[in-house]
Every structure is written in structure tokens, then in C-alpha cells.
């Protein structure tokens, strides 16, 4: 049976004269699942009739056929999965072919179940320019749900990555994970219960992330070391942190131009269940963190009921104090650095700074009422914020800025606060603002003094000297995906 199917596929691939994927079907000796595709049951929403050749339809549960097709790919291969559930003992891997599409009948109808995976692999793992994955769910992958790496032009549409157990550190790391790639579209997708990030766009040039839902993850949506991102219409709720923008130390793609707008970021109060790593430092109750990032706009989003704070603007040195960790050799740098104000050393560029951030027009309600202060070792920022506001009689301010590397800061005088990093919150009139001067507060704690609300600069709207209302260097350009 195995070899028959193999030969069948090879015949279809090698013979350019045959018409469509449906022509696979009349070969003798094949099992019924591949016969007469036009009439195959289980393809209510899409079949090879809707897709260009070469296309193969796979019957519900036929893991062997899916693996054989995946491992003998040709360029432009489309694989259409029936309605039903597949029990997989190894990942579905796509390599050595471009333009590959994996298409199911819809995220509620076509399920790839990796609970029986015997090895430490992902669910779907692809390297393919022009890769499309659509209309299916990946559940209980050992590592990442759907990982796509080193590819130009990637589309995730109507797919869900999830894990059965909630708040389990044994769940896989990332749900939807395009990395080291370019021109990535993620739309109408869902990611739930990942032990790191639900939707994680990493080291990507140009991405649009829109109209997705992330719940129950440590981090709902993360945009990491990415250049040019348009993130809108998403809902991040019930995660530890909702929507995060950051650079990892020393990564050669320096993040820039991230536009986060018209999202809903609410009730992100799930206790942090990450097994470790960078996300382990996110306090529960975090709406958005902008960390080690440049040219970020956060506007017209709805924030509510995030118990620690809605928006935190933080220098990378707050989580990794070693300057060397943030050093990138000039020769290693990748992507567009034009117009960025970066810290430099001898032959190196540092990506710890957070600079040129516009926070504008967001709505804020009900947040900051119960900050996550219990774990000073793993989440010291949560502890500091919690202690500062604990006896203040009011909730944590909606927008926080750590003022690290500002030339001056003062809890009392407007003129005592520099805004060297051009943090602009003047048009964010729906929320409150505070500069926390994290270095000073941390130093107090090291001297066994409790930080107080009186240590914090809390200007009234429009929050001078942070009252600017424009992004330095002009708006983030509208993103056109290529690839």
C-alpha cells in the first residue's frame, strides 16, 4: 500500500500532461481514499477542483498519505485535507519546494492532532517561499504548532494552533510562528494556551497581523526583531501579557516601524506559566509591552481590565543588564536601519534602546488594580510596579515609561524630566501616564527601601514633557506585502 501510493504520486508529479489532481485518481491499485476525487466525501468547502495543479486530496485521517505527499514535494504543490481528524506521530514537514499550500476545510473541521507525537517536533514545519496554510487546526504539538522559517511570502489564514491543557508549562512554545522570513500575512487565525507566545512573528521583514484571536497564552501576540509590521483588528484576551513588541538581545535584525492599532487587549491576567525564557519575566496583567523597540505606534486600541498595567514602555536593559548581550557587529546587521537613532560602540550597534514611541487615542478602563508583584526573582518589574502603587489608593497608571537612559528625571518637576527618547503620549487623553525611573526604584529596593508613589512622575494630561503627538521621522509607511 505504501509503495503503491508512492508510485502513484510520482506518476502524477512526473507527467506534466495530465490535467488536474483529480487525474491521480484513476490509477489502478490505489486505496479508495484517493479514488474519484470529484466525488470524494469530506471536502465540503474546498477541493482540488478549486486549486491549480499539482494538487492532491487526502482523506480524513490518512497520515501516511499526508506524509508521503509532504516528503516528495514539487514546486507549487497544493495539499487539500478532508474534514476530519488526523492522529500524527511526527511533524508534517515541507522542504525543498516553493509555493506549497496546505489547505483544510476550515479550522473547526480539519484537525491535525499531535498528542501522540513520539519525538520532539513541531506540528507543521515549513520552509517554502510562497507558503500558504489555511483552514485547519493544529493541536497539542510537542514544540511549536506551525513554524515557518526562512521563507519569503507566507500566509496563515483561518488556522488555529492550540493545546488541550490550559496554563500548562508542558505545552508547546509558539502557536503560529513565522521566523527569519519576509512578507508574512496572518489573518483570521486563533492561538490558544501556548507556553510562550500564541502568535509570534520573529525576525521578519514586513508583516500584516490582523483580525486574529489569542487567548490563554503566556504572550498573546508578539512581534519580535521585526521591521515594518501592521498589527490591527486583533483580540488578545486572557493571556499573561496581551500584545508585545520587543527585540531580543543581540539579534541582527533590529526591530522598527511597528504599527499597533484598533486591537482589543483585555483581561490579560492569566498567571505566568512559561517554563522560563524571556516571556517568563512578563507580569500577569500586562496589556502591551514595548521593549527594546524603535518607531512604534500604539493607537486607537481598546485596553481594559489588565491588572498590572495597560502599556509599558521599557528599555531592553531593564530585562538584560549586560551591554555586551545587546551588541551586534556592524557586519552582521540585516535589514533597513535608515533613520534609526541607535546606540553605537566600537564596531557594534546596540538594540536595547526604546525610542520614538507614539501612544495615542487608546481607550483605557479597569486596569492596574491588582499588579503581579509576588515573584521578584522572575518578574521584578511587576514587583516594583506593585510596590509603588500598593498603598497609593489608586490603580497603576495606564501608560508607564521606565525612563532608563534619560538624561534627567524627577518625580516632581516637569522641567526635571528629559524626553531624549521621544516618547509621545500627548494624544492619549483616555488614559493616565507615569514615568517610573526604574533605575532609581531598583536601587532603592537593593537598599531595602520600599519604592513609593512619591518616587514617580505622574503628570496630568497632556503629560509634558511627553506631550508630543507625532512620531519622530514621520508616520509608519503603509505596508505592502511582496513575495
Amino acid at each position: 500500500m505504501r509503495l503503491t501510493t508512492l508510485c502513484l504520486l510520482l506518476t502524477a508529479c512526473g507527467d506534466k500532461d495530465t490535467e488536474t489532481g483529480a487525474s491521480d485518481t484513476d490509477s489502478p491499485g490505489d486505496d479508495t481514499s484517493e479514488q474519484d476525487t470529484e466525488e470524494m466525501e469530506g471536502f465540503p468547502n474546498t477541493s482540488c477542483a478549486d486549486h491549480a495543479d499539482p494538487c492532491v486530496q487526502i482523506a480524513a485521517g490518512d497520515a501516511e498519505a499526508l506524509q508521503e505527499t509532504s516528503n516528495l514535494l514539487v514546486d507549487g504543490q497544493t495539499i487539500v485535507l478532508a474534514e476530519g481528524t488526523w492522529s500524527m506521530d511526527n511533524q508534517v514537514t515541507f522542504r525543498s519546494a516553493d509555493g506549497v499550500s496546505l489547505i483544510g476545510q476550515g479550522m473547526d473541521l480539519t484537525i491535525l492532532d499531535f498528542a501522540d507525537e513520539k519525538v520532539q517536533t513541531n506540528g507543521v514545519d515549513a520552509i517554502s517561499d510562497g507558503f500558504l496554510i489555511q483552514g485547519l487546526t493544529v493541536i497539542d504539538a510537542k514544540k511549536d504548532g506551525i513554524r515557518v522559517e526562512d521563507s519569503e511570502g507566507i500566509t496563515f489564514r483561518d488556522v488555529r494552533a492550540t493545546w488541550t491543557n490550559k496554563e500548562s508549562s508542558e505545552n508547546g512554545a509558539y502557536g503560529l510562528y513565522p521566523v527569519s522570513s519576509s512578507d508574512v500575512l496572518i489573518e483570521d487565525c486563533e492561538a490558544h494556551n501556548s507556553a510562550d507566545a500564541g502568535i509570534y512573528v520573529g525576525q521578519v521583514q514586513r508583516t500584516i497581523v490582523r483580525n486574529n484571536l489569542a487567548t490563554g497564552n503566556v504572550a498573546g501576540i508578539e512581534i519580535e526583531n521585526t521591521q515594518y509590521a501592521d498589527v490591527y483588528g486583533n483580540t488578545a484576551t486572557g493571556n499573561t501579557g496581551g500584545l508585545l513588541i520587543f527585540d531580543l538581545p543581540g539579534n541582527p535584525i533590529i526591530g522598527r516601524d511597528i504599527w499597533v492599532h484598533d486591537n482589543t487587549v483585555t483581561d490579560n491576567n492569566t498567571p505566568n506559566f512559561a517554563p522560563g525564557g524571556t516571556v517568563g519575566s512578563i507580569p500577569a496583567g500586562t496589556g502591551t509591552i514595548v521593549l527594546a523597540s524603535r518607531r512604534v505606534v500604539v493607537e486607537n486600541n481598546t485596553y481594559a481590565n489588565n491588572n498590572t498595567a495597560d502599556i509599558a514602555i521599557i528599555n531592553g536593559l531593564a530585562i538584560e543588564g549586560s551591554l555586551d548581550s545587546w551588541a551586534i557587529s556592524e557586519g552582521d546587521l540585516v535589514g533597513d536601519l535608515d533613520g534609526l537613532d541607535l546606540d553605537v560602540g566600537e564596531g557594534v550597534v546596540y538594540n536595547f534602546s526604546t525610542r520614538d514611541v507614539l501612544v495615542s487615542g487608546n481607550s483605557h478602563s479597569g486596569s492596574g488594580t491588582d499588579p503581579d508583584l509576588d515573584d521578584v526573582v522572575n518578574r521584578p518589574i511587576g514587583t516594583i510596579v506593585g510596590l509603588v502603587y500598593r498603598d497609593s489608593g489608586f490603580p497603576v497608571d495606564d501608560v508607564l515609561y521606565d525612563a532608563i537612559n534619560e538624561s534627567s528625571s524627577s518625580p516632581t518637576e516637569v522641567s526635571g524630566n528629559s524626553n531624549d527618547n521621544r516618547i509621545c503620549v500627548g494624544a492619549n487623553t483616555g488614559g493616565t501616564y507615569a514615568s517610573l525611573d526604574l533605575e532609581t526604584l531598583a536601587a532603592k529596593m537593593e537598599n531595602f527601601e520600599l519604592p513609593q508613589i512619591t518616587d514617580v512622575y505622574r503628570p496630568a494630561s497632556p503629560f509634558a514633557p511627553f506631550d508630543c503627538t507625532n512620531l519622530e521621522g514621520g508616520d509608519i509607511p503603509k505596508i505592502e506585502l511582496g513575495g
Binding site: L6, R95, T121, S169, A195, S325
Partner: protein
């Protein structure tokens, strides 16, 4: 090239003769005819390079069997390796120690499990043979799965997970969930970035530093030194990690990490480059080597551990933990092992333990 031409010109009588000879006297091998640019035949026997008699593999008399001085650990599997190059052709050594093989080269690597590794020649189960073909443009990889009766191996691209029971070299009963990789998983380890940043499929084992001078000389056709590994793995397995001097521990650990990890964890590694965690033997950057380096994400491998390497404290080091654990979700390498390589884990433990202590704070 010459071989192919000869085979074509003398096609009819030659083929008949070869087939008769083969059945009558197994040690006689037909001329090799392999087109490296197309998918190889469905049965391994049709390649005409190796045979299995139930207790040992034999190879075509034009093929060269070879060993690596520090092998990649694969659930203790014994590995039988051979390379065949077209007649009159040889390999060349690149400046980085990798080898360029001529078009048409075939590399065979077979995986075997004895019932008891203390008697490694007895009661052998032959699981799979992986074939690398050097095509005119690039290498391609093809997994063959042996039939249970050992009569032949079949091209099997979709992978398999087999439960294999055996007694390990230390005398303990073990059960491997042994992964026969699917074809696309070959590239997880074998893909490297070349100088132009393109992904290319490369052999991993045969490099000047992993081969004996004798083998390297045979492959290249000129006298070659080879074997820059300072401590042979066989000696470590037989003498134990405790028998090594501190200098030998440093050298052996770096060699072990190089062969077991650096196909991903190097600046040229496709799968590992995003981690910026580089275990290639010639990496000299302490941060990239993992010293006090926080991982971007170590999955479950990061539970209760903050840094890849905490010098002087192996127990707190993610590197040691992920190589020692058998917990799916936490272990490294990602694929290729389900069991702990006790000696390898001990070596990494001692290597980290003997570093100048640093609490990374």
C-alpha cells in the same frame, strides 16, 4: 562518468553477465549505474552498493567503508558507513575542513541495534540505510527502511517511529522510541547556509577533522593528515569521562558538541541560527557559546534554569539539562535521540563543572 559510459556501451551482454554473477557469487559486484539527478530506485539492492547477510553489511569493492572519530549519538545505534565515488574521481578538502565530493558520489549510512551492546556484533537488527546522492547541482537525501526479514530495504520517505528494546553498553535495559526520519527531516540536520546565504544540503560526518588520515587519503587521492580530534571517542567510552585530564575534557567536550549540535547550532546552521547559540568547535565567542547567555526560548528546557551555561554549575546549565534529559519537549537534539547518552552527558557535566565559576549575576 567513465563507469556510466562503459555500462551504456556494453549494455546487453554486460547486464546479463552481471546478474548471473551476482546470484552465483555474492562477493562479485556489478558495475555501478546510478543517476544522481533522479530519485533512486525503490529497493536499496537496486543501487548495487551494499548487501546484508543477516549479520553484517558488505559493500561494493569500489566503495570505501569508513568511521568517524567522534560519532553523532543516535540512541546508541551502531552505524555502518561507506562512500562510493565514480571511478577515477576523488574528493577535495575545503578550507573549513568540509569535503567536496564529485558528482555521482553516494554516501551510505546504516543504523543497527544489537540485542546487547556489550556484544555489538551479535543478534543485530538492521533498521535503516540513509543515502546521500551528489547530483550535478546538489545533494539529495533518501531514507530506506529495511524489511523485518532483512531481505532488502525499501525507499520510505514518510518516516517511522519504532520501539526498540536492547541492553545498553553499560548493561542496562533500554527502550528507544527510535525515529526513522521522514525525508524532509534529513534537511533539518543536513541543510547549511553556504557563503552566499543559500541553504544547501551537506554531508555532516565526513570532514577532515572527523576522519582518519588513511580514509582522508583514500578519499582525496593525496596524502592527508585528517583526524584533528584530540581524544578518540572510543577511548572515552572505554576509559570513562573520569579518566580524562582537564585539557582533554575541554577538547573532547567541544568535539562532542561540534558533531552532535553544530549542524544546527552554528552560524551556518539553518535550524539553530536564530538562537545565536553556537557550538561549532571553532566558535571562540563566549556569549555565543552559551556562557551566561539567556536563551530566547528553551521551551521546557528552561524550567528553573536561566542560562545556557552557568560556569562551574552544570546542574543550573540549560545545555547540560537538555542533553541529559529524556523529557520530550525539553531534550536536545530535537530529533535523533529519545534516550540519554550517559557518557556524553557526563562529559558536558564535567566540562561545565571545571569552568571558572561565574554565577552570571
Amino acid at each position: 562518468m567513465i563507469v556510466v559510459l562503459l555500462a551504456c556501451s556494453g549494455e546487453e551482454p554486460g547486464d546479463t553477465q552481471a546478474a548471473e554473477d551476482t546470484s552465483a557469487a555474492p562477493e562479485v559486484w556489478a558495475p555501478v549505474e546510478i543517476d544522481p539527478d533522479v530519485q533512486p530506485p525503490p529497493l536499496l539492492s537496486e543501487l548495487g552498493l551494499t548487501r546484508w547477510d543477516g549479520s553484517a553489511l558488505s559493500y561494493h569493492d569500489e566503495a570505501l567503508a569508513y568511521e568517524l572519530n567522534t560519532p553523532l549519538f543516535s540512541d546508541f545505534a551502531l552505524k555502518d558507513r561507506a562512500v562510493w565515488m565514480p571511478e577515477g574521481r576523488s574528493a577535495t578538502v575545503n578550507s573549513d575542513g568540509s569535503l567536496d565530493f564529485p558528482v555521482g558520489t553516494v554516501i551510505l549510512k546504516s543504523f543497527l541495534f544489537p540485542a546487547d551492546f556489550r556484544a555489538p556484533a551479535d543478534d543485530l537488527a538492521l533498521i535503516e540505510t540513509r543515502v546521500l546522492l551528489r547530483g550535478s547541482a546538489e545533494w539529495s537525501a533518501w531514507p530506506y527502511l529495511w524489511r523485518a526479514d532483512g531481505s532488502d530495504a525499501e525507499l520510505h520517505v514518510s518516516g517511522d517511529v519504532q520501539t526498540i528494546d536492547f541492553v545498553d553498553p553499560y548493561g542496562a535495559p533500554r527502550t528507544a522510541q527510535y525515529l526513522v526520519p521522514q525525508r524532509n527531516q534529513c534537511v533539518d540536520c543536513h541543510d547549511q547556509y553556504d557563503a552566499k546565504g543559500e541553504r544547501v544540503l551537506m554531508p555532516i560526518g565526513p570532514r577532515s577533522r572527523s576522519l582518519s588520515g588513511e580514509v582522508l587519503t583514500a578519499l582525496t587521492g593525496t596524502a592527508a593528515a585528517g583526524d584533528s580530534v584530540q581524544v578518540s571517542w572510543t577511548a572515552i567510552e572505554s576509559g570513562g569521562v573520569d579518566s580524562l585530564s582537564s585539557a582533554e575534557v575541554e577538547a573532547a567536550a567541544r568535539d562532542y558538541l561540534d558533531i552532535n549540535c553544530a549542524h544546527c547550532h552554528s552560524p551556518k546552521g539553518v535550524e539553530g541560527v536564530t538562537s545565536q547559540f553556537f557550538l561549532n568547535h571553532d566558535n571562540t565567542d563566549p556569549f555565543n557559546l552559551g556562557i551566561c547567555k539567556r536563551p530566547g526560548s528553551a521551551g521546557e528546557g528552561g524550567v528553573d534554569r536561566e542560562f545556557d551555561i552557568v560556569p562551574g554549575n552544570p546542574k543550573a546549565s540549560i545545555l547540560w539539562y537538555r542533553t541529559a534529559t529524556e523529557d520530550i519537549g525539553a531534550m536536545m537534539p530535537d530529533i535523533g535521540r529519545s534516550l540519554t547518552h550517559d557518557t556524553g552527558a557526563e562529559l558536558i557535566w564535567r566540562w561545565i563543572a571545571e569552568m571558572e565559576p561565574d554565577d552570571c549575576q
